[in-house]
Amino acid sequence: MRLLGLMFAPGFFSNAPVHTALLVGGGAAVVSAVVGVFTVMRGQSFAGHALADVSSAGGAASYLLGLNPLVGFLGMAALAAGGMEWADVRDARERDLLTGVMLGAGLGLTALFLYFAAVTGSATGAAITVLFGSMFTIPASIVPVALAIAVAALAAIAAIYRPLLVSAVSEDLAQAQGTRVRLIGLVHGSALAFAVALSAMTVGAILSTALLIGPAAAGLRLADRPGRSLAIAVLTGLIATWGGILLAYDSYYWTPGRGWPVSFFIVVLVFLAYLLAGLLARVRLRGVRLAAAQPSGCGQH
């Protein structure tokens, strides 16, 4: 009991903002991890990050107009994802450039909206909230919408699981199998927009990349089979997010009166998990090599 008391600072389980943060953060972590595995496999990490940053323009706009921030983040992310799929640029260099230019223009809009918000005085500190997130100030009214979005994104991925996997490994193979590659890309793009909007709300637009890429990279490093990679990614994301929330809550008691940022703890945990996955993968590889080097029954190789 003493240990539990040390781990969970008083009031952790009865605190309403903490409940909201656990729910929305958990949802964001699971969706980001699942979508992230496919995003990394498809080589779209940059696009994922760009979507998050561009969605911050929507977040800033909703602060300005007094809208629900989720509407802003989601609307802008969907717009950008749709635009990128619509442009349908195949050449890798061209896609890189288009993503970059879109990212620049989106950030320009963010700058403008944040400037308006500061001038009209409608939101102080909007820049920090939009870009770096503020998990404990999420309104409880958002929970049902946020969870619905999470479920929708997961359902979309589940519906196209097989073809998505094949096209992530080889687009040509998927095409040969009769998969409509563009449709798969479009569905994945929408799920990506959902995931990014959710995590932009929680850990902030800039850091949502950590939830998208970190757990996925850990999962892909540790396991060869996609199912296992997905499971590891989801677990990593959930543990890091909930652990981060717990540590941030506890930190109010370490340094009296001033909490440490949630995003910091989440990213640190994600990165530690990634390093650990690398270590485990290396140890296992060595084990496999040792086993292969052992003289076996047939003798010659």
């Binding site: 080589g43 970059g100 950590a210 890429i213």
Partner: protein, 265 residues
Amino acid sequence: MFASFMANAWIVATMVAIVAGIVGFFVVLRRAAFAAHVLPLGAFPGAAAASVLGGNELLGIVAFSALGVLGISQLQRWERREVATALWLAVALALGTLFLSMTRRYSQGVYALLFGEVFGIRSALIAPVAVLGAIAITATLVLFRPLLLDSLSPELGEAAGTGRGRIELAFLGVLALCTATALPVVGALMVFSLLVGPASAARFLSDRPLVALTLSVVLSLATVWSAIALSYLSNWPVGFFVGVLGGVCYATGRLRQRGGPVPAH
């Protein structure tokens, strides 16, 4: 617009535009837009750290740019380039969030660091920016041939004896220098627009490297100068104009290319 308090803005922004135009040419060629986005953004925690510790802001930025180069190249040993880049971004920004939470007086500074503050440039900044910029340009020119060769045809570069890893490291180093030059002026998020927009348009306009490089610098200068002028007239943030004009550059280049002859890939 040309009053004496604006002199610093014009001088420093011009230097930044030239450096960004040159380095941006290689960013586009090497498909390194993500790295060009992440190095500046990952250097901004350096400024926040300097504010916490009471050190020199530019020194913090230079230190974190260097850390970024090391971090990305270390992670690249384990991961694909873009995944490594994304992971570094997460780590650097997490540190940034921590530093920011330690200083309360910094909220205004954050906006300036991310989106740029051209009009408040102190004269003391001119000399360091000029030195850093000069080093960046010199390094790019010295590396010009191996960089070009490696970017256009890795196999040829390999055959000519330029190691891939070393070239990539050197390129990231140049990018970091450019970051440190431009970040205090146009902001962490806008360095990137300046690196990618003009250079991508230049590539559409000419196939010859030297012509494209020159065009890239010219377009970069035009972008920065018009952004400052528009920002001065409208009072809107300069970052907005840099971002949008970068997009306009790219779109114009693309439309022109579609109308004219298509370069063979």
